[in-house]
């Protein structure tokens, strides 16, 4: 049984240059991180909402979270989603939420957690794109890194041990709380379902990594 089944299109796995093909369940993790990154970086446009409407979950907690996202995507519009996003993350000087590791861990932006993240990113050979102004410890950026570590976007696909190291250092201490906050945020309607998807997925990640020898 799988969390999501969908119509059409086929996905060919990434990492054709890798000696070992990334297993499908790992690529699926990468997709989920990719989705979270996508909607946390910017509000969903019409095309994305259309795609999300097609998600069909199975009878697992994660599957039901996908179903909820699909329903919320069907019930919203790009304009409403953009208004939500703005209220949640932008505001006049700040949004309802501040999705940054430093903020969650210290109460301030640009703190030690960001410095530690930059060191680890550097060691992984990953740098912030020149056009990006936000600090790297934004939830969207961290999800993007996880996706890339899994599927080899930044070079070789990283082994689970390396993914675990990054996850436990830079996501696990705070991102579950962020997703829970997103679920409870006043402005969140579509994003409420994203918060729930993120929260459940991060719990699965945490438990799966903890199983590693």
């Amino acid at each position: 049984m799988t969390a999501v089944s969908a119509a059409a299109a086929q996905a060919s796995p990434a990492g054709d240059a890798d000696a070992e093909r990334v297993p499908e369940e790992e690529l699926f993790r990468s997709c989920i991180y990719g989705l979270l990154a996508r909607v946390l970086a910017a509000p969903p446009d019409a095309a994305l909402l259309l795609n999300l409407r097609g998600l069909m979950g199975d009878d697992t907690e994660l599957g039901r979270a996908f179903d909820a996202v699909a329903q919320a995507a069907a019930a919203t519009t790009p304009d409403r989603a953009a208004e939500e996003y703005h209220a949640l993350f932008i505001g006049l000087t700040r949004g309802e939420l501040l999705p940054y590791g430093s903020y969650y861990l210290t109460g301030f932006l640009h703190e030690k957690p960001l410095a530690a993240l930059r060191r680890d990113l550097s060691a992984l050979g990953i740098a912030r794109a020149e056009t990006v102004r936000e600090p790297e410890d934004h939830a969207a950026a961290l999800c993007e890194v996880m996706a890339g570590l899994i599927d080899g976007a930044y070079g070789a696909a990283q082994p689970v041990a390396a993914q675990r190291q990054f996850f436990e250092s830079h996501l696990a201490p705070w991102i579950g709380r962020f997703f829970a906050d997103l679920t409870g945020a006043k402005a969140a309607v579509f994003y409420k379902t994203i918060g729930e998807l993120g929260r459940r997925f991060v719990e699965i990640e945490r438990a799966a990594f903890a199983m590693e020898p």
Partner: protein, 64 residues
């Protein structure tokens, strides 16, 4: 080696049990792939099937 294979199998079974594991989650793959119109960006190496030029604005492989 045997141990490693066992732990891989354990991880795979765990993830699949909890609903993580379909390559046919192509809709999920597609949800990461949409880029707003008018944002041209070079496809990063090794991105494979998952093109997320809009999302990838955060990071790129560091060039030394």
């Amino acid at each position: 080696m045997e141990q490693r294979e066992k732990s891989k199998a354990k991880r795979r079974d765990f993830l699949k049990l909890l609903g993580v594991g379909s390559i046919a989650g192509a809709a999920v793959a597609a949800t990461g792939a949409d880029a707003p119109a008018g944002e041209p960006e070079a496809k990063p190496e090794g991105a494979g099937y998952r093109e997320t030029p809009h999302v990838r604005k955060y990071y790129e492989t560091a060039r030394f």
